[in-house]
């Protein structure tokens, strides 16, 4: 569309489009040139912001860890330890096995997702407009061709990646704790079971169907819950940003409400991860 006819829907569309990168025969291509590049397209904004925020998380926590003392902690260490203990308590309450992975996994998910969600509170037009300005002045691009989506959790790729990571761990833990046979038994002999061998064999397909759906539903619900909540929140911020001066009180109210949402969604993702892994590592069905 041409630059001068900016409609509301095009404005929203612009905000909801990721900056794309792909390699074509002519070398690296960006954005609209990648329209039909299929799977091998990279959302550079999602990647850059999420990895940047992840590095900030690791840098903050690593610096606290390297300066940590068993004596009287400073305020910064106290703050970091508060988060660590909060996550640790939740893990201890929910996950009863012994695993060195669950707690750091939960901490990473909680803080990383929180930081990515936090980007939602930056007024929607600031960074995209800044990116457009940079693109226009430095690279001579049309500012409408510069896309910048700063909340990585509104990109299904990121939430799906997290969910797939958790899903692989679930399967890994299931096999590690119960063995492959145990895992297959769990998938095929429940919830319907019978003492009669023949009936049991007949029931196997139904059980397999139900259990597979139950298993696959977990990563789907993880990915879509986080994505849906943040995408909807972002969309409402964009809509509010389009209503003129009235946006100020509306934006404030929605941002205040969103403070709750971003923490809650990070917490829910973390808790569900722990719960799913706890279920995967427990024998009793």
């Amino acid at each position: 569309m041409a630059a001068e006819e900016v409609t509301l829907s095009s404005h929203i569309q612009h905000h909801l489009t990721n900056a794309k990168m792909c390699s074509t025969d002519a070398g690296l291509a960006f954005n609209k040139a990648c329209a039909d590049s299929g799977f091998w397209t990279w959302h550079v904004d999602t990647l850059a912001w999420s990895i940047g925020l992840g590095l900030i998380f690791l840098w903050i926590f690593r610096s606290a860890a390297s300066k940590s003392t068993t004596g009287v902690p400073g305020k910064f260490q106290c703050f970091i330890e508060m988060i660590v203990e909060f996550v640790g308590d939740n893990v201890r309450d929910t996950y009863h096995g012994s695993s060195k992975l669950i707690a750091p996994l939960a901490l990473t998910i909680f803080v990383w997702v929180f930081l990515m969600n936090l980007m939602d509170l930056i007024p929607v037009d600031f960074l995209p407009a800044f990116a457009g300005l940079v693109g226009e002045t430095a690279f001579g691009m049309d500012s409408h061709d510069v896309y910048m989506k700063i909340v990585p959790t509104t990109d299904i790729n990121l939430t799906a990646a997290l969910a797939i990571g958790v899903f692989l761990l679930m399967i890994g833990y299931s096999i590690k704790i119960k063995g492959i046979g145990g895992f297959i038994k769990e998938l095929t002999l429940h919830p319907f079971s019978s003492n009669n061998k023949l009936v049991q064999v007949i029931l196997i397909p139904f059980n397999l169907l139900l259990e597979t759906i139950a298993l696959v539903a977990k990563p789907f619900s993880l990915a879509l819950r986080l994505f849906g909540n943040l995408y909807a929140g972002e969309l409402i911020f964009i809509l509010i940003g389009a209503v003129g001066l009235m946006q100020l009180p509306l934006h404030f109210i929605w941002a205040v409400f969103h403070i709750l949402v971003i923490v809650l969604q990070a917490f829910v993702f973390m808790m569900l991860t722990i719960v799913y892994l706890s279920m995967a590592s427990s024998d009793n069905h």
Partner: protein, 156 residues
């Protein structure tokens, strides 16, 4: 939904972050927290123990003090009794000494007196004999009448 290669990138990033967190972030932080908890726990236990010990020592000290007080009172009592006894003994001894000295004095005086009396008697006898001689110079023979004089002297 436009799933694409970003998914793979994010999956790799996620894995790397979790591994880094597991290696370099969680263990030192959690270790520090647990070590501090242990420290505080130990400190509280030690302070509890010390408090109990203090209470025990305090009781013991009070007990010892009471005992010492009783002992001191006993010793003072004994000393008083002893002193009274000594005073009594000395008084009795003094009394006896006095009586002895007095008795000695008495007997000395008595013997002196009897000696003097004897002397006097002899002198009187002599005097009487002399007197009687003087009277009887002319009449009596001293030898004839000496039995009478002797009798007289014995009666004095």
């Amino acid at each position: 939904m436009n799933l694409n290669a970003t998914l793979i990138g994010e999956l790799i990033a996620f894995t790397v972050f979790v591994l880094f967190c597991m290696k370099f972030v969680w263990p030192p932080l959690n270790g520090a927290i647990e070590a501090r908890q242990k420290k505080i726990e130990d400190g509280l236990a030690a302070s509890d123990k010390a408090e109990k010990e203090l209470e025990r020592v305090r009781l013991e000290a009070a007990e010892q003090l009471t005992e010492a007080k009783t002992q001191a009172a006993d010793i003072i009592d004994q000393a008083k009794k002893r002193a009274a006894l000594i005073v009594d003994e000395e008084t009795t001894r003094g009394q006896q000494e006095r009586e002895k000295i007095i008795a000695q004095g008495h007997s000395e005086v008595e013997s002196e007196r009897s000696r003097v009396t004897e002397d006097l008697r002899k002198q009187v006898a002599t005097l009487a004999v002399v007197g009687a001689e003087k009277i009887l110079e002319r009449e009596i023979n001293q030898a004839a009448h000496s039995d009478i004089v002797e009798k007289l002297v014995a009666e004095l």
